[in-house]
Amino acid sequence: MKYKLKKELKTVFDAPAPARKEEFINLLEYPKANRLDFFISQIGYIRKRVWILSLLLFIGTLIGLYFSGASYSFVWVVSSVLPFVSLVTISEIARSITYNMDELEMSCKYNLLEVSLIRIGILGVVNLAVFIGILLLLSGKTDLGFIRLGIYLSTPYLLNCYGSLFVINRSKSRDTVYICGSVTALVSILNSLISIRIYDIYLERNRMFWAIAFIMFAVLSLKEIVKFIKRMEDLKWNSSLTA
């Protein structure tokens, strides 16, 4: 009996139907999230792999330094690993395009352009922090100056940035990730081929070669990034002219 009583009590307090409910709910203005909230939420959407890889690289460098010391070979090894950071970073930045979310995101209040700029900003800072960290760790432990060390470490990375961005800016397929992966592998292999005669490569007299390569890849990467950002503003592909 008690059970049934409780059931009855459910309807005992029923009131005549409200008349203005739908209208009210439709017009109800909810508090909106501001840009800062959006920014913070975007940080949460950056995949863990970026943080993990950056951390691993940093720790790896520390460990490697401890065990083998800062030889030229070590510098070469680190410079061959940095391109992978570039790969992961650029894949992350281009996620919207790779997974075909770009059109949807472009139509939102905080659109694809903003999402991309935030990603580039945050990841750029993280990359820079890792790079500077490693640079600081290694500098003073070799006979290479700070600047030369910086150039040797970053040039393969920049080459990879350029290569990956090049591919991403010119295609839209899911396979872009694999293509960038190949580019990275290529860069690493290239780096190792060149560095077979390590001591020659890092010689004073090859300074020019490195400086030119560095500037060239940096500028090209910058151009590609700008191109990428422009592309985030609206659809530029006319691959789907149908309908």
């Binding site: 009996m1 008690k2 049934k4 009583l5 409780k6 009855e8 009590l9 459910k10 309807t11 005992v12 307090f13 029923d14 009131a15 005549p16 139907a17 409200p18 008349a19 203005r20 409910k21 009210f24 709910i25 109800l28 203005e29 909810y30 508090p31 999230a33 909230d37």
Partner: protein, 155 residues
């Protein structure tokens, strides 16, 4: 708020209607409740518990009474309303409920009609969980007593 706003609207409306017994006023107060709830900055990221919504409604009803000079305790009559679904058995229960003191009626509404948890009710009424249990049981016992008196065995 884990329930949709549609459901919440209906429930708050039910609550306000119980308090003011007037359709228009109840709806006005319901809408005002939501407007206030959403205007609080703290809603934005934490989502205040349901109890807060009811507290706003409760205070609005009290203000309404103060302004209109009516006594809150003066709602003994059960509205014999055609618009409200009236099963035969419910009518007897309704009558029984109306004989209870108002605070207990409110308890029953919050617990059984609006399906609030003991914790939430405790927060809204500003009493302990134990008190909530006690009062609910008291209300149910009183009800059973009244219903048995009317020889109403088949509920």
């Amino acid at each position: 708020m884990s329930l949709s706003i549609h459901d919440q609207y209906d429930k708050i409306y039910k609550y306000c209607y119980f308090k003011v017994k007037d359709k228009q006023t109840a709806e006005d107060l319901t809408q005002e409740t939501f407007l206030r709830y959403f205007s609080q900055k703290s809603y934005i990221n934490k989502g205040k518990p349901l109890a807060y919504l009811y507290t706003i409604a409760k205070n609005l009803c009290i203000d309404f009474y103060r302004k209109s000079g009516r006594d809150e305790r003066l709602n003994e009559e059960v509205p014999a309303n055609d618009e409200v679904t009236a099963f035969e058995t419910s009518y007897a229960v309704k009558q029984a409920v109306s004989t209870l003191p108002v605070e207990l009626q409110e308890m029953l509404l919050l617990r059984y009609a609006n399906e609030l948890s003991i914790n939430e009710i405790a927060q809204i009424m500003n009493i302990s969980r134990f008190s909530v249990y006690r009062r609910l049981n008291k209300a149910l016992d009183l009800l059973k007593g009244v219903l048995r008196k009317e020889d109403f065995n088949e509920i």
